[in-house]
Symmetry: C2
Subunit: 201 residues, 2 copies
Amino acid sequence: MSARAYLVDDDEAIRDSLGWLLESKGVACLAYPSAEDFLAAWTCELAGCVVLDIRMGGMSGPELFEQLRQRGSQLPVIFLTGHGDVPMAVAAIKKGAFDFVEKPFNDNELVDRVVAAIETDTRQRSAASSLGSTQALLARLTQRERQVMELVLAGKFNKVIADELNISMRTVEVHRANLFEKMGVKTAVELAQRLSALGER
Amino acid sequence: MSARAYLVDDDEAIRDSLGWLLESKGVACLAYPSAEDFLAAWTCELAGCVVLDIRMGGMSGPELFEQLRQRGSQLPVIFLTGHGDVPMAVAAIKKGAFDFVEKPFNDNELVDRVVAAIETDTRQRSAASSLGSTQALLARLTQRERQVMELVLAGKFNKVIADELNISMRTVEVHRANLFEKMGVKTAVELAQRLSALGER
DNA sequence: TCGCCTATTGTGGATAACCGCAAGTCGCGC
DNA sequence: GCGCGACTTGCGGTTATCCACAATAGGCGA
């Protein structure tokens, strides 16, 4: 799925003109006449950015934004609004909207922002995929291995770990070796550093 | 230095009324008639938040904000503006302003935001001081200890470290023990986790 | 010059980590 | 029932870590 700008606006004239504008600048677009339509089509694979009208029949722009975030989407959202509302703009940006643009807008400026938003999404996705691979490794661990890992990361000795889990030291050693193997590390320090990358989010 | 709201506005009437409002709600204030005056008084010890008019004679609010950030201040800034300017609000929030409020404002709402800003600053400072203490510990290490620490964090064996630094294993052990002592940790894993907190910034 | 800190090294022993080999139980799906 | 994977344990040996005791050497301020 390549990166696109997803236009959500209930005004067909806007969809058409904005779509044409972006396409003419080399930005692929898909247009939706309502927030509900876009939400129905949305999957976490959709890459690019969303250009979203504030006021629409049915679900409003901010509501759709909220829904997307609740579904875990990190897609950059650019709001379009026809009536300069400072509190709404402030609230949107504070909630993590990528931008907030008043209509009528300068064509080049909007295209620039859309392009910047798409680039941001692309960067986020590549960063997330490297973290994701670590998480994929993590997912392959068995229950016991995960338990042992946590205690290892707590800096505890195998002896102590064995005690806390009520198993023999030898068993701890086996789990430890297995989880190191699965995580592709050779020492506990490497493991700690690999995982700290996740915590930074 | 206790936390205060620092009011910067060239309108004496606003300074007085706002100061009175905040003081009446238990928020200590200091008022400055210009951005230059506040900047001259500013030190990184000042804690609390800044309430800043956008338009002032001399340096503008956004300019002062920029100056503060360049000086490394993380002080939350609340902008006050008399003329709803969406692009300016968006730009300010994206640059990290705490809030952007239009005049005339609702008294209680503004007080709430000032209080929230001060709380944010307080939290930031306590978090920063705990990181700072780690950095202080780091600063107490000797050259060799630092070198050894890096190699330890690279997950290398004492034997390898000794080899790379062209010293004996025993010496590495000594440095290792000393640096663990100075950093207040007992294992390499703890050290890695302590330091990863710095990386998250 | 004396004392303190840093850096260095050695010996030897206690403790912990790491590993191959071997083997037992348990639950689950074919 | 059989095989597979997760979990379990023991034995014995190698390697690494951790530490106490002991000692040498250079730099630097009192």
